[in-house]
Structures are given as structure tokens and as C-alpha cells.
Symmetry: C2
Subunit: 339 residues, 2 copies
């Protein structure tokens, strides 16, 4: 007798009994297995290279689960890897918490677990501990994933504090708005057809290169929910500084630009999953840009603005017609469940 | 204008924009705030006492969210604290990932956050990083919580490996079945009235006392989903040993016993959230029991069985009438969403 009803997940797969064990041994361990995870202990015992670490958590509820350029599995790994890397940590270990809706297709689950493995391999991190719960039909939307992550901090760098300084130049690595627009335009109800792909990617390799070039990066953030406008406003608030953007310098691909126009969005407010913003001293910006452009995830690196005077936290933009306007934070996301 | 519609959570509270910030500053930081969390960085930077750590994750989907003896907040802290402590680690830092259903009452959320704070204080752990997502009505059942945890491992103990040895005696700290039966009997649809309270509690203080008495505890597990029968079978499998239980020695409160009888459950299969099982050398068992009984969460400590010969992984029970029967793992939980 099969342990799955019509190749779907049942409530008993989350009950902590025999069928939970089957799910772990059938679906998770053959793909994700390693010395630590295979032990199936209550927690993973790890030896870190250093006593100083970064620790972060993120839950992923993206709709749809599969979108152009990625899926919830790749998203869940990259999102947490990037949250560690932008603090100057070397991402090492991830946990994986699944909340599955009863009736979820086993094949989709297998495919997402494979994505998790591939993204973890690309980022050089290991899934060392996990948990699975199954909720009844109508109590989730297919699958939600939480990943928490531990990174080791091996050098003392200003970026751990994450405070921008007046005079810093602001650099992004890639075109804006790809992830949010890929997810939005792939929702069936919008009946929209584009070729936009999510930028979801682990940025720790690129960041590693960047920290080799300069130890003076004062702050880095990945521009996920809330988009570039969101992180810029956080940076301005935290450093109590003005930030001035150059609209014409901000990289946005043509298809994203068109889709944003049609849907009434602005690319700087749209979620990204492979965009980082770094604040660097002006005399190091050129070398930083050159280095970034050699990396696959930094080919479109550009200076998009600068950090102004202290004492007046706000973000403004010089538009392409030469006027200035204030860039505020949106109240929420334009559409929910982007990440 | 209020940032909440009828004092309920809206989708925009999870959108990463201004209202997300409001929720964090209004509801989370006033209760949970600390130097690390207040920074609101992408990840928390922590200094550990040692390079060796334990790392674990757990998602909580309990129904109802508030049950006799606790709520999902206390459960989410204690569950993860206990998973660290049974591996011999000192629980230090937790992450908090919330998935909230649109329309969730702000007052319930505040109450759960307060529970999280109280349980964290009792356990001596700090919430250092968090994340909140809001999903549309009908895409969750009120609130799901993920906590991941980091504990420091400061001494080298056999319990980190968690392998039982032939001859070990098996000790539990408290009566079985309290949590599962408290949750089940509080579900309105069952129309059941009892005074059973969940045993949900952080066990790290008790475990600390136990490890002071003996460095020879060979394995510890908390008997959550799958109950005592589940963890005993895991212990038997992992150590490839026979385990023999004594039915009359297993502590079960009268009200749980009656409720189990009426609903057709067995207490050894019911979920606990404050029960640990420890395997100790026979000559140290008396002293261990005496020490445990001095602790509020160990008052009912008792030897309930022993580890037999190697090479035949199974769990058997000497019943109160003197017969023997095999104790197997259930296929799932008897009822879903217990923890």
C-alpha cells in the first residue's frame, strides 16, 4: 500500500509518526541528506569557525509557488543567504521549516526540495535541521517555507553595523523590479504575458568579491519587500542622513519598465530577490563597480546615488527631466504574497 | 486614522512597507525589544560563548491558539528551547517567524507576543531576529509561528550524540499526555469538559540540574509529537537496542487517564510539551531522580523502564497484569494540529 493518497501529502505525514518518518526518508533525505541532517536529532550540533555569527529568519509565502526564474524553494534559500551576506557574514547553515497544505502534490514537493538543494549548493550552505507540519485543506495555500540561517563573521568590518556615512556613493548590482514583476505577471488572474524572469539568486559570492576589494563598505542591504525605495528609506532613517538618487542611473530592464507602466507600479517600489544596495566611499566606487561587473550577479552594477548631509533623514530623486521629488515608503506591498 | 482596520491585522501589515514598520514598532518591539532586535537589521550579529552550537527549528500550527495551560506563543518558545536543551546545549537565541491570517485580532496577537516574552524570560533566551508575513483570509488558520534556536555547547558530553547504552535506565520527569489531551479536549467541536492543563514548559533549567548531577546521561529527548512511544522507538532504532517499559511506573494523571479512555487514546502516544526522557546509567538513577524531584518541572520524576540488549530494535511494555506487548509508532497523530 502506498504511503501517499493519490501521490499527495496527507495530514498523517505531519503527525510525527511513521508517515512523517517516511516523508523524511523518501523525499527529504535522498536530496538534502548530509551527516548532520541524517542524524534526525532534536537539534543539529555544529562547529563554527568563529564565535561571532549572524542569525536571521524569513518565512516565504509566495504565490504562485513556481514563477519564471525560480520557485519558493530557491527563494527560501536565497532570501536567507542574502540576509546573512549583506551583514558581512559567510552563510553556513540553514534550517528548513515546511508548512504543507493537505493534498499538496508530492511531485511539486519533490521539485521544490530539489530547488532548495540546488540553491544551497550554489550558495555553499548546508541544510542541517528541519521540521514539517501538515495543515488541513483550506488552512494554507499549498506550501509555506521558513528558513533561518547562521553565518560566521570572520573579520571585523563596518558593514556589520550597517550605518551609511555622508559622502558614500550608493551602488546596486542588477536591474530593479525583476522578481516582483515576474511573480505578479505570472498570476493567472491577471492574464498578462511577459518574458520577465525573477532575479532570485544567492548574492554571497558577489559580496565576498566586494569585501575583498574594499573593507570600507559602510552598509549593505538586499532590496526585497518594499523594493529599493524601502531599503533606502531604512538606510536614511538609521543613519539620519539625506539620500539623493539619480533616476537615469537606476538600471531597469525594458520589459519590467513596460509592465510597471501598464500596471501603474514604479520599479523602485517593486520587490527584488537578487538586488543589493551598497554604500561605499567615493574614491573606491570605480574599483568596486569594475569588480562587481566581472561577477554573473553584478554585470549591471552602477552608482545610482549618494548619501548627503546628516540630520535630515529622507530620500529624494533627481528625475530624468531634472526635477527633484521625495521617495517615500509605500504603506504595504502593491500586491500581497510576492515573497 | 488608525493603522488597523477594526483592530485587526491587514495584508499591508505584512507588505514590508510603512504598516509593517508600524506593527513592529507598536506590537513587537515594546514587548520583545532588546539591543539586537531593535536594530532591525537583515540579520542579528551575536557573540557566542563557544564555537560549538546546537541549531534547531520548529513550526507551530496548534489549534486552538489558546488552550488550557498555555498558548501558541509559549509553545513556540518552549518547543525550540527544549529541542536545544535535550542535546545538552544552553539555549541562547531564538528567531521568530510569524505567518498571520488577514483579519487576525490585534489583541490576540498582543497577548501571544506577551506569552512569547514571558516564556523567553523564564527560559533565559532572547528573541534576536524576526519576520512577519500576512496571508489573505482562508490561507492560514489565524496564526502560525516558526521559531529557530541557537544554543551553546560548553562541555563535551555523551548526550550530544544521543545514543542509548544497554543497561541504561529510562527516566521521565512528569506525567504523560497533558498537552495533547488539553488541546484536544479544548476543541469546541468535541463538547468535552475537563480540567486538564498543558504541561508546556521550558525544560532547560531542569536539564541543567540533571547535567550537574551526572555527565553520563547517554541520551535525552523531549516527547512531543508521537508521544513517549514515538521517542522510545526512535531511541531503540538509533541505538539498535531493545527497550522495555514498565506500565505501572509510567506517571499519568487521573484526568488524562479518564479522557484517554473515553476517546480511545493511549497516554504513551499523546503529545507532551514538558516531558523529557533521559537514559542514565543504573548506578546514577537514584541520585538523578532525587535531584529532578526538587525542580518544579521534575516533581514526578520516575524510572519507567530500561534499555535491553543490542541487535533487536523494538520497544516492549510489561503491562500491569504482567503480560508483554510491543509498543509501536502510530502512523500519524491521532488528531492533527496538536503542536
Amino acid at each position: 500500500m502506498s504511503d501517499y493518497t493519490n501521490d499527495r501529502i496527507t495530514l498523517a505525514h505531519g503527525g510525527g509518526g511513521r508517515l512523517s518518518r517516511t516523508l523524511v526518508e523518501d523525499v527529504f533525505l535522498p536530496v538534502l541528506g548530509n551527516d548532520c541532517l541524517n542524524r534526525l536529532n532534536d537539534s543539529a550540533v555544529l562547529n563554527l569557525p568563529d564565535k561571532r555569527i549572524a542569525f536571521t529568519t524569513d518565512s516565504f509565502v509566495v504565490d504562485p509557488l513556481f514563477f519564471p526564474g525560480g520557485d519558493i524553494g530557491r527563494l527560501a534559500v536565497c532570501g536567507t543567504v542574502n540576509d546573512l551576506a549583506v551583514m558581512g557574514a559567510v552563510p553556513r547553515y540553514l534550517s528548513l521549516g515546511l508548512i504543507i497544505e493537505e493534498g499538496f502534490e508530492l511531485e511539486s514537493l519533490r521539485s521544490i526540495i530539489q530547488s532548495i538543494k540546488d540553491a544551497a549548493d550554489e550558495a555553499g550552505v548546508t541544510i542541517v535541521t528541519g521540521d514539517t507540519k501538515v495543515v488541513a485543506r483550506g488552512q494554507a495555500d499549498g506550501l509555506y517555507i521558513n528558513t533561518s540561517g547562521i553565518g560566521s563573521i570572520e573579520r571585523d568590518l563596518p558593514v556589520h553595523k550597517g550605518r551609511v556615512r555622508s559622502g558614500d556613493l550608493l551602488i546596486v548590482n542588477a536591474p530593479l523590479g525583476q522578481h516582483g514583476m515576474a511573480v505578479i505577471t505570472s498570476r493567472e488572474e491577471l492574464g498578462f504575458k511577459t518574458t520577465i524572469k525573477s532575479d532570485v539568486a544567492p548574492l554571497n559570492g558577489l559580496i565576498d568579491e566586494m569585501l575583498r576589494v574594499s573593507e570600507n563598505i559602510s552598509a549593505m542591504r538586499d532590496a526585497t519587500r518594499g523594493g529599493l525605495a524601502g531599503v533606502l528609506n531604512e538606510m536614511a532613517d538609521q543613519g539620519d542622513v539625506q539620500i539623493i538618487l539619480d533616476e537615469i542611473a537606476i538600471p531597469v530592464n525594458e520589459d519590467v519598465h513596460i509592465a510597471c507602466d501598464m500596471l501603474g507600479f514604479e520599479a523602485i517600489h517593486v520587490a527584488n530577490e537578487g538586488v543589493l544596495l551598497a554604500a561605499v566611499p567615493p574614491d573606491e566606487a570605480d574599483r568596486m563597480i569594475s569588480t562587481m561587473r566581472l561577477h554573473p550577479y553584478g554585470r549591471h552594477a552602477a552608482v545610482i546615488g549618494e548619501v548627503g548631509d546628516k540630520g535630515r533623514a529622507r530620500v529624494t530623486m533627481r528625475t530624468h527631466i531634472g526635477t527633484h521629488r521625495v521617495i517615500d515608503v509605500l504603506s504595504g506591498e502593491q500586491l500581497p504574497r510576492i515573497c
